[in-house]
Amino acid sequence: MKLLRPRLLSFAADLFLWAYLLYSGFTLYYLEALWSPWRPEEKLVWPALSPWGWAVVVVGMVEAVLLTRSFGPSLGQRVLGVHLVGEGGRRPTFAQRLAYFGFSHLEILVLGAGVWLNPQNPWHERWAGLRLEPLPPLGSEARRPPWYRTAYGLTALLLIAATLAVGWRLTEVDLQKLVRFAPKSLRIWRGLTNPSFEYLFRPDPRIKLSFLDGLVQSLYMALLATVAGIVVAFPLSFAGARNIAARSPFGWLLYSLTRGFFNVFRAVESVFWASIFAIWVGFGPFAGSMALFIHTIAALGKLFSEQVEHIDPGPVEALTATGANLLQILRYAVVPQVIPQFLAFSLYRWDINLRMATVVALVGGGGIGQLLFEYKDDLQWNLVGGVIILFMVTVWIMDYVSGWVREKIV
């Protein structure tokens, strides 16, 4: 086993880990003691330290890294699957660990030259009578200490605690507010529980759209975007499947480009596309449909191609052996295996698109969402309640139907 890579990576990971912990600690201290909302400065700041102060921080960090690495697998060592063992695979003694800790300092002083020259068993390990070895696979060991008695377990705990604490502070979680200002929301709840269906059939004279018109518009937006998305995603999914496309250098390129396209376009939310298309083709349902369409291609394309990658390769092999060409192999060996999942994903996507169709209205995508956001801005909570209830019933029915259909086909 080549040990250079796990050595360097685990050391880098440990160093990064302690830097992160240190900075989290500093941030918590800063937010607690120094920051105040009346001095609206940034919450994440770079500590101002003298050069000597920085030197102390760096040395402290390295010491922490070396300590955890010497005494029990550090988190970095654990993640990269290596640990220190003594002669004949015995557990290192305390003296050996202490020696290792000391010699590690020398290794740091020569900037890791020993590891570079002899990655299998560098000086500082040999002198301590230890060596780094791959962790035995889980379960093969006679007894492994519980996680809370290991260095890596405790560091991981510290890591999680620090992350949650910083997160709590940064997102300004304030449970008091939830309770204290609850009466403010009462008006909304009252409106929502007394829904008004005044404009269910009759168009609202101001917005010139009735509830049902908006709903039907949204349903068809979702439907068109889904169908068009499937039509494009279906052929692309074969180009994005490693087992089908990536068989030649050109295929690799095609595969990488397709996957890259899926990932980039999936990461960008529909709302963002909607605001682009609202400017491009004007406000309204068309812009919304285009936004849903683009996102559907990427999302379905990725799901489809993953499905294609998980097929049983046997039939593909068998049909290749009969002299069938690529298209015929796709049609007779691949498509029959993936069609049920494709259908299920597509139905599911229609569900998502219907929900999305309301959200894209926020930036001018048309449909029932337009009503929702107009009424919300006018604080007409009874009408908002009506729209939401109508929408909920629709989604509920669709969920039920598509769930039933999915069950039938898979």
Binding site: D312, G314, P315, E317, A318, L319, T320, A321, T322, G323, A324, N325, L327, Q328, R331, Y332, A333, P336, Q337, I339, P340
Partner: protein
């Protein structure tokens, strides 16, 4: 010998055997595994050749090199004097049409009907566009029923493949290969997933194709007893090298231990 455009042929100085394998070597890139080293043999038309060897000895690799499902690292393979190892992918597809293959795991499309699975054996002979719409010539459908009748599955034509027992599925696999009108049939452990009784029934169908249609058969078999019963000739592989090539009765106790290792015991499959 059939001549086709784009195929390289040797001058007809010698009459070549049906299949010639010359210095065949395969090294898998992944893991740098030498699966075959310098394997040489030839097969006459109509022969029934059996490959034996421990698992991992290279039997599957050898069979797949012949129809180039696996690309050989070096060496040459001739079928009817045509050097397969030199053919373009397109020309190779044409040649594959006449090489049937049967697999250990049957490799049927489970969700498709028996008929669709068998018709798929005919894809290489038909133009792409109609087949994409699921259309096959009437002649092919008739032929599919004939092939299914030969393996005794005429009553299962419209049954989904995953509704069949293992033995029946393998017979569908054989029917699919028959659809190709093969001159050579490769069988990669065709009965390893089956129980002994079914094994014999499936092997008998393969034997019948060999005897009645004169199709050359190369089959890898796990059990020596099956190899002895069906093979006219046996080639044994060990760690990618040919360690035996001869008549079944020439494999004595010493030879057996050499092929399968000292601890092995010969077992009988009835």
């Amino acid at each position: 010998m059939r001549g086709r455009r784009g195929e390289r042929r040797l001058p007809p100085l010698f009459v070549m055997p049906h299949l010639v394998v010359e210095n065949l070597t395969k090294i898998y890139e992944r893991g740098k595994i030498r699966a075959l080293s310098n394997v040489n043999f030839s097969v006459e038309k109509g022969e029934f050749l059996v490959l034996i060897g421990l698992s991992g000895s290279g039997k599957s690799t050898l069979l797949r090199c012949i129809n180039r499902l696996v690309e050989p690292t070096s060496g040459r393979i001739f079928l009817n004097g045509v050097e397969l190892t030199k053919l373009s992918p397109r020309a190779m597809r044409k040649v594959r049409r006449r090489i049937g293959m049967v697999f250990q795991q049957f490799n049927l499309v489970k969700r498709a009907t028996v008929l669709q699975n068998v018709l798929a054996g005919r894809l290489g002979y038909n133009p792409t566009l109609p087949t994409l719409f699921g259309r096959f010539p009437k002649e092919d459908v008739r032929r599919a029923q004939e092939c299914l009748a030969r393996v005794g599955l005429l009553d299962k034509v419209y049954v989904r493949a995953d509704q069949l027992s293992g033995g029946q599925q393998q017979r569908v696999g054989i029917a699919r290969a028959l659809m190709q009108e093969p001159e050579l049939l490769l069988a990669d452990e065709p009965v390893s997933a089956l129980d002994p009784a079914t094994s014999h029934s499936v092997m008998q169908y393969i034997e019948q194709i060999n005897k009645e249609d004169g199709v050359t058969v190369i089959a890898s078999l796990h059990f020596l007893s099956l190899a002895r019963r069906y093979g006219q000739r046996i080639i044994a592989l060990k760690a990618g090298e040919k360690v035996f090539d001869g008549k079944p009765e020439e494999i004595d106790d010493r030879k057996f231990k050499e092929i399968y290792g000292e601890e092995a015991e010969e077992v009988e499959v009835r």
